[in-house]
Symmetry: C2
DNA sequence: ATAGGAATAGACCGGTCGGTCTATATTTAG
DNA sequence: CTAAATATAGACCGACCGGTCTATTCCTAT
């Protein structure tokens, strides 16, 4: 399941074959269609959901111990850069590659939209908690999010996470 | 050729079939493999190159008539938002979808890296020409580029170009 | 101990994929 | 006018795609 997510993130929805996923996960086809009757599409949505929740967890872990917003952003970007490096620079935003690359389906689009909103809301909440005025907090969270998505893309093109690590100085 | 580019941009490298491209372009297979002996991969690289050059043209058109950097950014984002709307919100960054979704190939990655660098260099040059100090100009160009990539992604998820139109107030 | 549902296992299917190849049409050069 | 080069056209290929289906194994409740 998590392994499946990595493959989707690396190669995009249409870039991985079902057989490749199943082989890597060590699971036969029967089991997949037992748990996910709609097959690949369901699997991709589930994998994106797992990845999205993991990012939320990283956001919390980064901001909870921070004494101000900037420090939280710095920790957050550092953690994501490390995640990027672990996967050898092949993985960008863990959800957009999976969902935007998939079928042109309302369910996929809405899922992605919802995930992005959750991320920004969570960052905004931490910013407010750390003393930012509410309107600034929302703007800064959006700034961070948009730049982060861009950094993921650029980092993949460069096979180098430095642009992610330098993000805090760019958006704070 | 240009039509092929749109398809790649919408559906990603693996999301379009060769036959679909050829049908839409009204071209038989023989012609494709006459001009692009390496088939789909060559075609994708060429399509990305065409799209990248078009973006450069849009950058120039936006900044040449502007009286300051902010005005150029505003015009630029407006033009891109219009492009986004024309394609019914299905097209994001015209090169990353084509190239990042493709095979895990150094040629693809390097092409993408080169395109991104060209874009940022061009924006930086305009910023300098419009009176920004050189170090600020490069930073602002990167800020704009990263946020723009993010906006393209978010705009697709939302099927709405507003986030692109609001970009100038976020990065200037 | 055993009946019955849940889960595993993978053979199998039609369709489509990217790519090759031969035959025909069109243009260019002498 | 004709021969050679260039470009068009699409039938055809093996491989692999996502998905279905049947057979078997595993677990659990009685």
């Amino acid at each position: 399941m998590i392994e499946a997510g990595y493959l989707f993130q690396q190669k995009g929805y249409h870039g991985v074959g079902l057989s490749q996923i199943l082989e890597r996960a060590g699971v036969p086809k029967g089991s997949l269609y037992h748990y996910f009757p709609n097959g690949k599409a369901d699997l991709a949505l589930a994998a994106a959901d797992v990845a999205a929740t993991e990012v939320l967890r990283i956001i919390d872990a980064s901001f909870e111990t921070a004494k101000d917003y900037q420090e939280g952003v710095t920790t957050f970007c550092y953690k994501l850069a490390k995640y990027f490096d672990i996967h050898e620079g092949k993985i960008g935003c863990p959800v957009s590659a999976t969902l935007l690359g998939g079928p042109d389906d309302a369910a996929f689009r809405d899922a992605l939209k919802g995930i992005f909103e959750k991320w920004m809301a969570r960052i905004t909440a931490h910013a407010v908690r750390l003393g930012q005025p509410a309107p600034d907090a929302a703007l800064n969270a959006q700034r961070l999010f948009l730049s982060l998505e861009g950094s993921w893309t650029l980092a993949r093109a460069q096979r180098n996470a430095d642009v992610i690590r330098n993000l805090p100085s760019l958006v704070c």
